[in-house]
C-alpha cells in the first residue's frame, strides 16, 4: 500500500495529456503525413547508399530452421508461400513431409530439418515453403521462418570442414546450402 497519497490533480493532467496524444496520433494531420514521408525518404536514401552493389556478390534467401540460419541462392527460388494444409502421402520416404496445393498443382514438400538431421522438435513451427525453381521437377523446402534477402561477397565465403549439403559458411553463422546436393540426396533416397 502506498504511503504517499496520490495527487489527483496530477492524475487528471496525465489523463488529459495522454488523451490529447492519442487524439493527435489517430488524426491523420498533413504535418504528420509529411513528416512520415520525409523520414521514409531519408531512410531510403540511406539504404541505397549502403546497398551499393558490388561486383560478383551472391544474392541469397536467408531462412531459419530452429536456431540455425541457412541460405540458398535467390536464383534457385521460384516462390515463397505459407505452409497450409500439408497432406502426408503414404508410401513416400520420411524426408517428404507431404504435398500441398499450389494454385491447383500438387507440390511435394521436403522436410529439410529431417534431411539435415537436426534434432527432433526442430521445424515444429514451420510456417513457410520455399518453392525451388527447377525444370523437371517442382519441389518445396519446408523452413521455419524466412528472414529475407541478403548479399554475400565471394571473398567472405569459407569452405566448410564437414557436411555434404553446405556449400560455404558466411559471416553471422550463415550456412549456404547446395540445392543440387540436397536434391541429389533426395533422388538417391527415392531410389532406395
Amino acid at each position: 500500500m502506498k504511503r504517499t497519497h496520490i495527487d489527483w490533480a496530477q492524475v487528471h493532467n496525465r489523463l488529459r495529456s495522454s488523451e490529447g496524444a492519442l487524439e493527435e496520433a489517430l488524426t491523420a494531420s498533413p504535418a504528420r503525413i509529411d513528416a512520415a514521408y520525409r523520414e521514409r525518404a531519408a531512410r531510403l536514401a540511406k539504404g541505397r547508399a549502403e546497398q551499393t552493389p558490388c561486383a560478383g556478390a551472391l544474392t541469397v534467401m536467408v531462412f531459419r530452421l530452429g536456431p540455425e540460419r541457412y541460405a540458398i541462392e535467390i536464383e534457385e527460388v521460384a516462390e515463397a508461400v505459407r505452409l497450409e494444409h500439408c497432406t502426408p502421402v503414404p508410401g513416400t520416404p520420411t524426408l517428404f513431409a507431404g504435398v500441398i496445393n499450389l494454385r491447383g498443382e500438387l507440390l511435394a514438400v521436403l522436410d529439410l530439418a529431417r534431411l539435415l538431421a537436426l534434432p527432433e522438435g526442430v521445424g515444429g513451427e514451420s510456417d513457410f515453403v520455399l518453392v525451388l525453381r527447377r525444370r523437371r521437377q517442382t519441389i518445396g523446402l519446408k523452413v521455419d521462418r524466412i528472414e529475407g534477402l541478403s548479399e554475400i561477397r565471394p571473398e567472405d565465403l569459407s569452405q566448410p570442414s564437414q557436411g555434404k549439403y553446405v556449400k560455404g559458411l558466411a559471416p553471422g553463422t550463415l550456412m549456404l546450402l547446395s540445392v543440387d546436393s540436397v536434391l541429389a540426396e533426395v533422388v538417391s533416397k527415392e531410389r532406395v
Binding site: 531510403l44 534467401m61 516462390e79 524466412i146 534477402l149
Partner: protein, 535 residues
C-alpha cells in the same frame, strides 16, 4: 448328653434324695411295726397282770373266808370283802383287754360263772358262820365245791396266761424279723446313697472344675494383658456360655484396646499438635499485638488517604461525565465513518466494473492487432516473392527489387509495431488485473473497516455505558468513602478492643500450653497402660 450344671446337680442330689426317702419310708414302716409289736407285748403283759389280779382277788376272798371261818371274827373278813369287791372289776377289765381276742373272750366267759360259783360258795359259808352254824359251814367246805370251782378258775386262768405267752413269743419273733429287715435296708440304703452322692459329686466337680481351671488360666492371661488367646468352649451349659461370654468379652476388650491404642496414638499426636499449635498461638498472639499496633497506625493513614480518595473520586466523576459527552460525539463520527465506508465500497465496485469493461475493450484491440499482424506477415511474404521475381528478372528487375525491399521494410515495421502494441496491451491487461485485484482488496479492506467501525460503535456504546456506570460508581465511592470514615473510627475502636482481647488471649494461651503439656503426659501414660495389652 448336654445338661446344665444346675440340672446335673439337681439330678444327682435328687436321685440321692429319692433313695434316702425310700430308705426312710422303709425304715419308718419297719420301726412302726416294731413299735406296734412292742405295744402288743405290753398289752399281753397287761392281760397277764389282769389275770393275776383276778387270781389274787379270788385268793384274798378265800383267805378272808378261811380266817373268818376259823376265828369268826369280823376283822378277818376284810380280805374277803376287798377280794369280792375287786374281782368283778378285774374280770371286767380282763374282758375289755381281750376284746380283740375271741379265744380269750371265750375263756373269760367261762371264767365268769366259775368265779361266781366260787364267790357264792364263799358267801354261803360266811353267812352260815355268822349264823353260828360252824358245822354247816365246814360241811360246805368239805364238799369241795369251792375247791373245785377254785381249781377250775385256776385252770382257765393258766390257759389264758399260756395263750398270752404264746402271743408274746410270736410277736417277739415278728419284731425281730422286722428289725433285721430295717437294719439291712438302712445299711444298703446308706451305701447306695454314699455311692450316688459321691459319683454325682465327682461328675459335677469334674464338669465344673476343668473348664473353670481353663477359664482361670485364660483370665490370668487376660489379666497379664494377653488378649490374643481364646478359651475353648464346650457345650451349651453355663460354663460354655461363660466361655463364650469370656471370648466375647476378650474380643470386646481387644477392640477396646485396639481402639484405645489407636485413639491413644491419635491423642498423643493431637496433644503434640495442640502443644505445637498452642506454642504457635503464643507466638502468633505476640505477633498479633505488634500487628495491632501497626494496624492502628495504618488505619490512621488509611483514614487520611480515604479523604484524598473521596476528593479524587469526585474529580474522576466529573471528568468521566465529560468523557461520556465526548464519547457520544465519537459515536456520531464512527457512524459517519461506517456510512462513508459503504459508499467507498460502492464506488470501488463501480471502478472494478469499469476496469473489467476496459479489459474487454483491450481484447477487441488485441483482435485488431492480430489482424494487423497477419496483414504484415502477408506483406512480408509478398515483398519476398517480389524480390525473387526481381532477381529472376535480372538487371531489369533491379529497381523493382528496391521497391520490394521497401515493402519488406514496411511489413517489418508493421510487425514490430504490432509486437510493441501486443506488449503494451499485455502491460495494460496486467495493470487491469492488478487494478481489479487492488480494488477487490480495497473492497475487502473497506468491509473490514466497516466491521471495525461497527465494532468501534459497539465498543464506544459499551464504553459510554461503562463511563456512565463509572460516574455512578464514583458517586457511590464518594458516598462510601464518607461512610468509610465512620467505619474507620469504629474499626479503630474495634482494634483497640482486639488489642485488649489479645492480651487476654496471651494469658489463656500460656494456661492452654500448660494444659497441653499435661495432656501430652497423660497421653503417654495412657499409651504405656494400653501397650500392656497384646492384641
Amino acid at each position: 448328653m448336654k445338661m446344665s450344671i444346675g440340672t446335673r446337680i439337681l439330678v444327682g442330689y435328687g436321685v440321692a434324695l429319692l433313695v434316702t426317702g425310700a430308705v426312710g419310708v422303709v425304715v419308718y414302716r419297719g420301726m412302726s411295726e416294731v413299735v406296734a409289736t412292742a405295744d402288743w407285748v405290753t398289752h399281753s403283759h397287761k392281760v397277764k397282770e389282769a389275770i393275776t389280779e383276778v387270781r389274787s382277788a379270788l385268793k384274798d376272798a378265800e383267805t378272808g373266808q378261811r380266817g373268818f371261818l376259823l376265828t369268826g371274827e369280823e376283822r378277818y373278813l376284810e380280805p374277803y370283802n376287798a377280794g369280792v369287791e375287786a374281782v368283778d372289776g378285774d374280770i371286767q377289765d380282763l374282758r375289755e383287754l381281750t376284746a380283740d381276742n375271741s379265744s380269750q373272750q371265750k375263756l373269760t366267759a367261762r371264767l365268769r360263772p366259775v368265779v361266781a360259783s366260787k364267790l357264792a360258795e364263799l358267801a354261803e359259808t360266811i353267812a352260815m358262820r355268822k349264823q353260828g352254824n360252824e358245822r354247816a359251814a365246814l360241811e360246805i367246805v368239805r364238799s369241795d365245791r369251792g375247791k373245785k370251782a377254785m381249781e377250775e378258775a385256776r385252770r382257765i386262768m393258766a390257759q389264758m396266761t399260756a395263750d398270752e405267752d404264746e402271743l408274746v413269743k410270736q410277736r417277739d419273733r415278728a419284731a425281730k424279723a422286722t428289725a433285721g429287715f430295717v437294719r439291712a435296708t438302712m445299711i444298703f440304703g446308706a451305701l447306695l446313697i454314699l455311692v450316688l452322692v459321691s459319683t454325682a459329686g465327682i461328675v459335677i466337680q469334674r464338669s465344673i472344675t476343668i473348664p473353670l481351671a481353663a477359664f482361670i488360666q485364660f483370665a490370668g492371661h487376660v489379666g497379664e494383658g494377653d488378649l490374643t488367646q481364646q478359651v475353648k468352649t464346650s457345650g451349651g451349659d453355663e460354663l460354655g456360655k461363660l466361655g463364650e461370654h469370656l471370648n466375647r468379652m476378650v474380643e470386646g476388650l481387644k477392640q477396646v484396646a485396639g481402639q484405645t491404642r489407636l485413639t491413644t496414638g491419635n491423642l498423643n499426636s493431637s496433644a503434640a499438635e495442640i502443644l505445637a499449635s498452642t506454642q504457635q498461638q503464643a507466638a502468633g498472639t505476640s505477633e498479633q499485638s505488634a500487628a495491632i499496633l501497626q494496624t492502628t497506625s495504618t488505619m490512621e493513614e488509611v483514614t487520611r488517604s480515604g479523604v484524598q480518595i473521596s476528593e479524587r473520586a469526585r474529580q474522576v466523576a466529573s471528568s468521566a461525565e465529560a468523557t461520556s459527552a465526548a464519547s457520544l460525539s465519537g459515536l456520531q463520527a464512527v457512524e459517519n465513518t461506517a456510512r462513508n465506508m459503504e459508499s467507498i465500497r460502492d464506488q470501488a465496485e463501480a471502478v472494478a466494473e469499469n476496469v473489467v469493461a476496459l479489459s474487454e475493450k483491450t481484447q477487441a484491440i488485441g483482435d485488431i492487432i492480430s489482424t494487423v499482424n497477419d496483414l504484415a506477415e502477408q506483406s512480408h511474404l509478398l515483398s519476398l516473392n517480389a524480390a525473387i521475381e526481381a532477381a529472376a528478372a535480372g538487371e531489369h528487375g533491379r529497381t523493382f527489387s528496391v521497391i520490394a525491399g521497401e515493402v519488406k521494410n514496411l511489413a517489418d515495421q508493421s510487425r514490430d509495431a504490432t509486437v510493441q502494441v501486443r506488449a503494451i496491451l499485455s502491460d495494460i491487461q496486467k495493470g487491469i488485473n492488478t487494478s481489479v485485484m487492488l480494488t477487490e482488496e480495497a473492497v475487502k479492506r473497506v468491509d473490514s473497516g466497516k466491521q471495525q467501525a461497527d465494532m468501534a460503535d459497539r465498543v464506544i456504546r459499551e464504553m459510554t455505558e461503562g463511563i456512565q456506570q463509572s460516574v455512578q460508581a464514583f458517586q457511590q465511592i464518594v458516598a462510601a468513602a464518607n461512610q468509610q470514615q465512620v467505619g474507620f473510627s469504629q474499626v479503630m475502636q474495634a482494634v483497640r478492643e482486639i488489642g485488649q482481647a489479645s492480651l487476654q488471649t496471651a494469658a489463656s494461651t500460656s494456661q492452654l500450653e500448660k494444659e497441653a503439656v499435661n495432656l501430652t503426659v497423660l497421653g503417654q501414660q495412657l499409651r504405656q497402660s494400653v501397650e500392656r495389652y497384646r492384641i
